[in-house]
Symmetry: C2
Subunit: 335 residues, 2 copies
């Protein structure tokens, strides 16, 4: 049985959205999946009842405390040891769960994942991997957040993490990694990127296609072929991610202003909007921690959270953690 813990108290629409997402995922996924709703039992039970959701394949794990969306992450994690975030991750650490997903306070989830699951050697913070919708197939961009000033070695680490994730979760047998830069030539880029290029090109394990540019991401390919993973520092990645989010918003504004209502609501327009909505990929993995932890957007819909549960289940089913252990912590893998 694959056990996926979901933060029932986290996100702008909790507990309704996580509970509805869990119900949707249970209906859609294979029968060997158990979804663990982590939160205040009374609240979760009331919500299950309100939505008319049965208990089959669902389990409630009591967590008396709740971390608010606006609380300071590290303080909140230190002071609320029985929060849904802390206990959801502790479950995994204790071997009682295979993955954790939360739409709650992102900083708190990152801090807790670091404290509870711990990082592999060589990583200072978890890397946030974000699947970008492209013309072709989603491309995993990392780091999209936490590692602001990156040394070249960290960029190489992201390439390895992304390769595991793309293989086990995105179903790419031999993931191709590109290094985000401002030109294809190895000598283009800032100091860390130029050094990372050298290290990546010499890496015996990776399939490195060289530098990729801003324009290559959404095409899903560079001139050497398909790209599966794009590596960058968390400063660049975060700016790019938020910029991409706002593109969707700008388009909605333009469509609302320029197109007649019947065109706005046409089937084709809906497909385009769906295509650009990366919530459908179900959240972003925190990579570099010894476990599976998916952060979902605070505004996640039940569909997005169900999709996140599916992603977490893929990670567990394809032994992502074992594969990462065997590369990054061989002593743990052997024990």
């Amino acid at each position: 049985v694959i056990r996926i813990a979901i933060d029932a108290m986290g996100g702008d629409h909790a507990p309704a959205a996580p509970v509805a997402g869990a119900a949707m995922a249970r209906a859609a996924l294979a029968e060997d999946i158990l979804i663990q709703l982590v939160g205040q039992t009374a609240v979760v039970e009331a919500e299950l009842e309100r939505q008319g959701v049965g208990r089959d394949g669902l389990e409630i794990v009591e967590a008396p405390e709740v971390i608010g969306m606006a609380e300071k992450p590290v303080e909140a994690i230190r002071s609320k040891r029985n929060s849904s975030i802390a206990l959801g991750l502790a479950l995994q650490k204790a071997g009682k769960s295979d993955a954790f997903i939360s739409a709650g306070n992102t900083g708190a989830v990152m801090a807790a994942a670091t404290l509870v699951l711990r990082l592999y050697p060589g990583f200072e913070r978890p890397a946030i991997g974000v699947p970008f919708p492209t013309a072709d197939h989603p491309v995993l961009v990392l780091d999209a957040g936490a590692n602001v000033d990156c040394k070249s070695q960290e960029l190489v680490g992201f390439a390895h993490l992304g390769t595991h994730y793309a293989r086990d979760v995105l179903g790419r047998p031999e993931p191709v990694v590109g290094l985000l830069s401002i030109g294809e030539e190895p000598e283009k880029g800032n100091a860390a990127v130029k050094e990372a290029h050298r290290l990546l090109a010499a890496d015996p394990v990776l399939r490195f296609c060289g530098n990729v540019e801003g324009r290559d991401i959404l095409m899903g390919r560079c001139e050497h072929g398909v790209i599966d993973v794009v590596v960058c520092d968390g400063f660049t990645g975060n700016i790019l991610l938020k910029f991409y989010e706002s593109v969707g918003k700008l388009l909605r504004t333009l469509v609302g202003k320029e197109l007649p209502p019947e065109m706005q609501q046409s089937e084709g327009m809906r497909r385009i909007a769906h295509f650009l909505d990366y919530a459908r990929f179900g959240g972003a993995p925190l990579l570099g921690v010894r476990g599976v932890c998916i952060i979902a957007h605070g505004r996640s819909s039940p569909e997005a959270l169900a999709s996140g549960i599916r992603v977490a289940a893929e990670a567990a089913r394809h032994h992502l953690v074992q594969h990462m252990n065997s590369e990054f912590a061989p002593e743990a893998a052997a024990s």
Copy 2:
């Protein structure tokens, strides 16, 4: 009379596009403008004749050599001293022209602008300013290219350059500058950005609104109000610019795939496509050089080049160079 030199030999569609753009600009702009077509006289004359363009308000400036789009910039500038790029800029240096615009080899234009016009003290390379179309008004993002590893002082310099440009060319009386980062708080960002925030906040001249995020650019505003200028290092800016270019391409792909032909060709769709096409802003200024130099996309249409000529004329009409001189090179301004 305002004299605008255009590289008649530069760009993928030269000489046809620059000649047609010059003719369009001459027809559209005030009568006190002289457009100087810099290139091989015989070629330019033949093109004028082919297009049936009269000579009023146009002048041909002979430049026997041509720098190809794929030539190595610095080598090309060193070996071809009589290229249209070098001579077009030399004209301005000699006081015989007020601005230069080229759709040719961008690297060569940058190298030539640096060599011929020279930089103000404190700048190591020209900063490329790119007006991004937003929901509200174009926002000038700089640097979008050349300054890859930026110190905080350079970011502050960009803020000053962008302020002059936004005031004199974009018509914003009191331009508001944002610093691109990954959160609004002053302590968010990489090392250079955090230090730049401190310097910008203490700057007595600028209207600094603090950090802005990737999502704020396309909205044209942050939580403190409108943004006119966004400052970032050339690595981040270049990646963002190319990413934005590819958004337009992705949308065209999606629209072509998902919408029926009559919807694709509707008036509203055309307005949306026009909105997202930043070629309509007529190129990107090279800032930090002692003069006006606009680089246009290699694929620029006649419309885009005419728009670039208009932008160059605005810069000249509003005394951009004199204003920059008085800030960055007071001895030159006084002489």
